[in-house]
């Protein structure tokens, strides 16, 4: 039997993927944009809407980075508002385990689950550094290993809090005056060097019992965390063989913790460009890439790697033949800028030389390489192949425009996936997000 495709709709955010110079680009902050995007995603029967999160404005050379879309809503608040204008689609937000506290975040997610009638999800990220930490009471004091330890304890505690109310805790018997059943709520205590908690949860069990948990992070620690706690992995592995390898690795870890292959879905980020012919799609892809990586964006990217002023360089020329400044950090708040600078520069040179790429084309190659480019038929067939051949369980689709970025995908690709019989033709009425995704419906057993 063919395997079902699952799709998440990523509201485009704060990075150069989002083309704001396009005349049809709308606001990235007005609620009407979010409402439009959510309604379209629901029209396309996406499993869930997905939001990334960044907790500080990015900086370039000590000043706010001003070339990309900047500014976004508070993740939980916007998802709660979207719960009011949608019926079936899941609502998944990225929320840090480093800059939140378990009691509070668990109650917020349980609240979102109640308000959405079982559609809440949490992309649990650990991302933290002193730059982001400077906005919080809890500063940036945890190293990588401890961040994942905190994340694991955080997830474990959240699950215990969510499980701490009995299903039938609320009796509300007006005659006897008994609102709450005796022993309805379990005490949740946890003491470690990271947490010292002795809590009684204050939100009744929510429709999903346990909101969906998504993980985004690639390290061995990250994969272990996903194996233990997540229902979905949001990965960056989109190249076919690499995706298959990632799929095998992660799914292979599940048996050891008593989980099935389908209990953990893998939905990598994917972009797409459509055309009536392959040629037209490629042309559009090139145009979009040029809008995503404008000359100043390309130069800025290099400046972040080299930590030098490259304003005098020609973006259509070759890479600068100079050494990096390895002094103070120049770029702040950007993802994936942690690799050792020199080895990264060596890699960049290698790619640029092998393919004879200018600065701008190199940066396009790195940041605007669209995952699926072709006719709707070709894109549908490609997506289907990834799923049938166990490279992914589907994709987290991100468009390049706000808020219309997924309209074309919904109109032209979804129907073809449906024709192939591998994508739903309607939501199951009243299904929770976990049911929509087909991940284990009951809470994982939690020890007291």
């Amino acid at each position: 039997m063919s395997r079902r495709i699952h799709l998440a709709a990523h509201f485009p955010g704060v990075n150069n993927t989002t083309v704001w110079t396009d005349p049809t680009a709308g606001s990235q902050i007005d609620f009407s944009s979010f409402e439009y995007f959510a309604r379209n995603a629901e029209r396309g029967l996406f499993d869930y809407l997905f939001l990334a999160e960044g907790l500080r404005l990015r900086e370039h050379r000590g000043r706010i980075h001003d070339l990309d879309v900047l500014g976004r809503p508070n993740t939980l608040a916007i998802l709660a508002a979207l719960a009011a204008v949608t019926e079936n689609i899941g609502l998944v937000g990225t929320l840090s385990t480093t800059f939140n506290e378990p009691y509070e975040l668990a109650r917020q997610l349980a609240t979102l689950d109640h308000l959405s009638n079982g559609r809440a999800g949490w992309n649990a990220v650990t991302s933290s550094d002193a730059f982001h930490g400077a906005n919080f009471r809890r500063g940036g004091f945890l190293d990588h290993g401890d961040r994942y330890r905190r994340a694991a304890e955080f997830a474990e505690l959240s699950k215990r809090l969510w499980a701490s109310w009995r299903d039938d805790a609320i009796l509300a018997d007006a005659d006897t005056g008994e609102f709450l059943r005796r022993d309805a709520i379990e005490q949740v205590a946890h003491r470690s060097d990271l947490f010292d908690i002795d809590a009684r949860f204050d939100v009744p069990r929510s429709p999903q019992h346990r909101p969906l948990i998504v993980q985004a992070g690639d390290s061995a620690d990250g994969r272990d965390f996903a194996t233990a706690h997540a229902d979905v992995i949001f990965s960056l592995h989109t190249e076919f063989e690499d995706a298959q390898e990632f799929y095998r690795d992660v799914k292979g870890r599940l048996a050891a913790v008593g989980r099935q292959e389908d209990d953990l879905k893998i939905l990598p980020a994917a972009s797409f460009v459509l055309g009536d012919t392959l040629e037209e799609a490629r042309e559009r892809s090139r145009e979009i890439a040029l809008a995503q990586v404008r000359p100043e964006t390309a130069i800025t990217y290099l400046e972040q790697v080299w930590n030098r002023d490259f304003s005098g360089y020609d973006p259509d020329g070759p890479l600068p033949d100079v050494e990096p400044d390895t002094g103070a950090e120049s770029a702040q708040g950007f993802a994936n800028r942690h690799a050792a600078v020199r080895s990264r520069i060596a890699k960049l040179r290698e790619v640029a030389e092998a393919e004879k790429l200018s600065i701008r084309d190199l940066i396009i190659r790195l940041t605007a390489n669209h995952t699926f480019v072709g006719t709707p038929d070709q894109v549908a067939a490609d997506i289907d192949r990834y799923v049938q051949e166990r490279a992914t369980d589907g994709f987290t689709v991100v468009g390049h425009l706000t808020p219309h970025g997924l309209d074309e995908f919904t109109d032209r690709v979804i129907p073809l996936l449906q024709e192939r019989g591998t994508y739903r033709t309607s939501y199951e009425e009243g299904a929770t997000l976990r049911e929509t995704l087909g991940v284990a419906g009951q809470p994982v057993a939690v020890e007291a």
Binding site: E104, A169, I170, E178, F195, E296
Partner: protein
């Protein structure tokens, strides 16, 4: 001439009376559902209620002073996060201000600030916050982050006699400062989308909060661009002189709990005195008197309903209680208006019953009698209350520079 006032409502669980959930009109198994809150707040919105506050607490037993709170089986237990309930209600309502209760001791001020800004965006300018200072030992155990804080109310009954409470109010003041600074961090027109130069925003018009306090610091600007009201409406409930001073210094609206009209006049004078001494805010502090109400078609029916509730669970409340018909409540409102308050926050004893009576009887009759401010169709909560929209302090600096 009658003084005109605004009518607001305060929403909590099944109502403010601890036995309210046992009334036949109550919906005790729906208190954490979307439908319950949608119905309540839409009714208030349609009736022209100026704002609704939504209670919250970070413990199972809430903020009750009852000695045996624990897990009492005869009380409503279980609630939703108020800021998220308000956010959910934003797209479902048109005019009503949405004011969730927020606690200042545990949550990250940065998250509170961006959450309130987002509520303001989603509601197109109707966001506020009711600030609650301090924490209980149970809250601290739930969070496990810090051990310091008030243990209970001091024996004198005055929070100003307890250094832990004094500190809690100083911290709450910092949280409000941080919320306001972050709200100001993007000037109105910071987003320029200048295709020519390739700049999405003018970074000269986005400012780091650079907040350094006794309790925490916040370096960066908000991640949320400036919202329709500029700043959310800051409100606080105050019974005593430290809270009065706190409200005078930091709030836009203070809720007071006079026993009657005479006391209301005294408190208004005290609050105005405090404001004269400590207030930084550009606008006069607005004063709303709280009134707990139970409304029936006849006085006798109201008294009977009240007695029934009291027999089941006697109420302990800070607010003045008005029991009677819509006319009784309107008389109370009129008297409080004459005492110089700007508005009345009605606390329905029973939900939805007393809210229904407020929206269907009290408000239409009071409006017809000319006691209420006319709805001038102002789009934002601040404007409805006669407060101007706030411009960013940073924009003001540039102009004066």
């Amino acid at each position: 001439m009658t003084e005109k006032v605004h009518i607001a409502v305060a929403l909590d669980g099944a109502g403010w009376h601890p036995a309210a959930w046992r009334e036949p009109t109550a919906r005790p198994t729906e208190l954490t559902t979307a439908g319950y809150w949608r119905d309540l707040v839409r009714a208030a919105d349609d009736a022209g209620v100026v704002f609704a506050t939504i209670e919250d607490a970070l413990t199972l037993e809430g903020r009750t002073a009852e000695a045996d709170a624990g897990i009492r089986r005869d009380r409503v237990r279980g609630r939703l996060d108020a800021l998220l309930v308000a956010s959910f209600l934003a797209p479902l309502t048109r005019r009503i201000g949405l004011i969730p209760t927020v606690t200042t001791t545990h949550p990250e001020p940065f998250h509170l600030a961006t959450g309130l800004q987002t509520l303001d965006h989603a509601s197109l300018g109707r966001a506020g916050a009711r600030i609650v200072a301090g924490s209980s030992p149970q809250e601290r155990a739930n969070f496990g982050r810090r051990g310091d804080g008030p243990v209970g109310f001091p024996a004198s009954g005055h929070v100003e006699d307890d250094p832990a409470w004094q500190a809690a109010f100083r911290e709450a003041g910092e949280v409000v400062d941080a919320i306001r600074r972050l709200a100001d961090s993007w000037e109105d027109d910071a987003i320029i989308r200048d295709v020519e130069s390739g700049r999405f925003l003018d970074r000269e018009r986005v400012h780091n909060a650079d907040f350094e306090g006794e309790f925490f610091s916040i370096t960066g600007a908000s991640i949320v661009p400036r919202s329709p009201q500029g700043q959310p409406l800051i409100t606080a409930l105050a019974h005593q002189s430290i809270p009065h001073r706190f409200a005078a210094e930091h709030a836009d609206v203070v809720f007071i709990t006079p026993g009657g009209a005479e006391e209301a006049a005294v408190i208004v004078a005290e609050v105005e005195q405090a404001a004269a001494e400590v207030r930084d805010e550009p606008e006069r502090l607005r004063v709303f008197a709280d009134l707990l109400v139970l409304i029936e078609a006849t006085e006798a029916a109201a008294v009977e309903a009240w007695d029934r509730l009291e027999e089941r669970a006697p109420i302990a409340t800070d607010a003045h209680i008005a029991i009677g018909t819509a006319a009784t409540i309107i008389d109370e409102i009129r008297t409080l208006a004459a005492a110089g308050v700007d508005g009345i926050r009605l606390r329905p004893a029973r939900l939805p019953a007393d809210l229904t009576a407020i929206t269907e009887q009290v408000i239409p009759v009071a409006r017809a009698a000319g006691i209420l401010h006319d709805d001038d169709a102002s789009p934002t909560l601040r404007q409805r209350l006669g407060l101007p929209l706030r411009s960013s302090r940073f924009a003001a600096q540039e102009v004066s520079a």
